[in-house]
Symmetry: C2
């Protein structure tokens, strides 16, 4: 929804801009979709200016005025492209405007506006700067209802994952396939009220060393005793709320061999180091950027000698999109210097991948609420789930 | 799929570029999705160069190599952003490259690449130009199977629309709501094997004067005798093939009053003028651009004095997307100077909208096949469907 006027003015002043210019077209900008609460057709270009002074202005095509029917401000309709340019020019000329851009694509999730649109705004006299801080505060922050939905989903996923892995690791060589375990997990979570948008990742043995492995019936692996089992699952109470996103690890045997346990402990400790970095900064009232939390986790992995096997960022923003528009925990795929701020949520999911052998990832989520950063689920995984560890994971 | 090498080289030479650089990220570029046949996760940046000389090259993230598992060329994997920049630099430096951009957003459907990505390619030494002619030829053209699917859908939609309107116009004041008619239409088309991605537009009386009206149960209108009925419906044999998209008009009474008939005839004749312009150009072997077909229709409407009531383009590209990436029939919302070429398809749908009174649109589709441009459905609407006209529409 369009931010409260006082909060918006404060944030625009802090960002040093005259306004926030949102651009929406065929759903290409999830930030605009979120702030403007767009539903239905969006087949024509829509611009909305939320200015520091004066009332909001929407520039909307005459044949698609429904999205601005209850717009709290002025609506400038256009039909011909010359009218669009005139209306847009009248609101951007001479202004410094925040838009969803990211210089040289440094943060791809913030880089949403096509090059031609930015060229047009510039030619019409506007100066365009990234909207990062506004996006984190107004588009990525969770509502109370979304937090409640997320917590519910997180506890259900944790129980479903634990149960599924306990059962799987006991099955050893009995023919369990990755897609069969995937189907079990989906059925169990759906029975408890969750919906998935895509299927969980299930990887046995060497497949767990592929961070984005997707099993397919027919070509998927069958579990063998002595293999690592990776389960990464994301689901929520509905498709339009905040999901939970977790990764759990099992071992199909009495107890994992030393090398597996060693990697597990490194990954778990890296996860907890990132969590601690965020908690400590919050407690001390000290700013912390996404890249700093990544470094906290990466240091642990590097110190253990597995730095070159941790081939992705530590975490991603989570909002109404699973890979959200807020700050990521990333000093690897990108250098995300956006601050972690109250209201937002993200995943914490370091991993170590040993091609041909096995991979280990451990994933929890964090939400920075009124009483500080909170981890979901309430009880993160402490030990790998193995036959002997079934009761304590 | 990746174009045949000989055809691609010819098109690249014609476009005066060294290669076609495709960028894919979270489905933001339907052209890349189509050419690279992407399925599954696309959470990391993927670049693919189809060069005029040498083999294709993909730059893909190490944790997401699945989309390039069967890539017919070289794969350069990256993990850190510095590696991405190095790999991308090695393929773009000093090259003139076609990408999905459109100067100043002149054609929004071709303007797909975020500004930061273009900045990055430029900083790495590439020159970027629009890929319009390549998109029309390789991404927007229909396959034979897609043409067959489209023809099937077109005939089903035409029959369903005619039947539904014949029944509706006879019901006069008997309480038919817009959403009830919408549901009837969907049920009839689904029963005959079609799927919808969004619901048809049904507008009674003044609602038909809103070109993108969407009825909602509870707030929708109830048909009254003497009202115009607009039905715009789009559906296909599956969500992954080419849809048909048609608009049909009815009148809930014995015969439409003179003013309604006059507007209908103007719109119908404008539709047929655009169709004739494309056919004539094809027959004469003369190039025709999208904007020229728009002008042919618009001239008819303007000559009748309704030019200012025809508030949208004449037609849109249709490919695997209902609003496709190929040329539009547009000299109004944009000036689309891309050529209409064999292989592509589009809608032809002029309209005249009289706010507070009624609106009329008539829509058929065209596909430019081996034996020239073809109109679907085979029998476009000639007269409005009214009680007296039930047999001849």
């Amino acid at each position: 929804m369009i931010p409260d006027r006082a909060a918006l003015c404060e944030a625009l002043a802090e960002a040093g801009v005259d306004g926030w210019l949102l651009y929406a077209f065929h759903g290409l900008n999830p930030v605009a979709t979120r702030i403007l609460e767009l539903e239905g057709l969006n087949t024509r270009r829509l611009f909305v200016l939320l200015p520091r002074e004066g009332e909001p202005v929407a520039v909307a095509h005459r044949i698609e005025l429904a999205p601005v029917a209850e717009f709290p401000g002025q609506v400038l309709p256009y039909a011909r492209w010359e009218e669009l340019h005139a209306a847009l020019g009248s609101i951007v000329s001479g202004k410094r405007l925040a838009m969803e851009i990211s210089p040289e694509d440094a943060v791809p999730y913030l880089d949403r506006v096509p090059v031609g649109v930015v060229e047009l705004v510039r030619r019409l006299g506007g100066t365009v700067v990234p909207s990062g801080p506004l996006v984190s505060r107004f588009a990525s922050a969770w509502t109370a209802a979304e937090l409640a939905d997320h917590r519910f989903a997180a506890e259900v996923l944790a129980e479903v994952a634990r149960d599924a892995l306990r059962q799987a690791v006991r099955e050893g060589d009995r023919g369990l396939t990755e897609t069969a375990l995937q189907a079990r997990v989906v059925a169990a979570a759906e029975a408890r009220g969750l919906v998935f948008d895509t299927l969980p990742i299930v990887g046995f043995g060497p497949n767990s060393a592929n961070p984005h492995y997707e099993p397919h019936a027919g070509s998927d692996a069958t579990l063998r005793a002595g293999q690592v089992v990776l389960l990464d699952l994301w689901a929520g109470r509905s498709r339009t709320t905040v999901f939970a996103d977790q990764t759990w690890m099992g071992f199909a045997g009495e107890r994992p061999p030393e090398r597996v346990t060693r990697v597990w402990e490194v990954v778990r400790d890296a996860r907890d180091a990132a969590v601690a970095a965020v908690r400590d900064a919050a407690a001390a009232g000290r700013p912390i950027a996404g890249f700093e939390a990544d470094r906290a986790a990466r240091r642990v992995v590097e110190a253990a000698g597995f730095g070159d096997r941790f081939v992705h960022r530590t975490g991603h923003s989570i909002d109404r999109e699973l890979h959200g528009s807020g700050p990521h925990l990333d000093d690897y795929e990108t250098h995300d210097d956006r601050r972690l701020i109250p209201g937002i949520g993200f995943s914490v999911e370091p991993g170590v991948y040993l091609p041909g052998e096995f991979g280990v990832r451990s994933e929890v989520n964090m939400h920075w609420g009124g009483s500080g950063p909170e981890v979901t689920p309430r009880e993160p995984q402490r030990e790998m789930i193995a036959v002997s560890e079934g009761g304590r994971a």
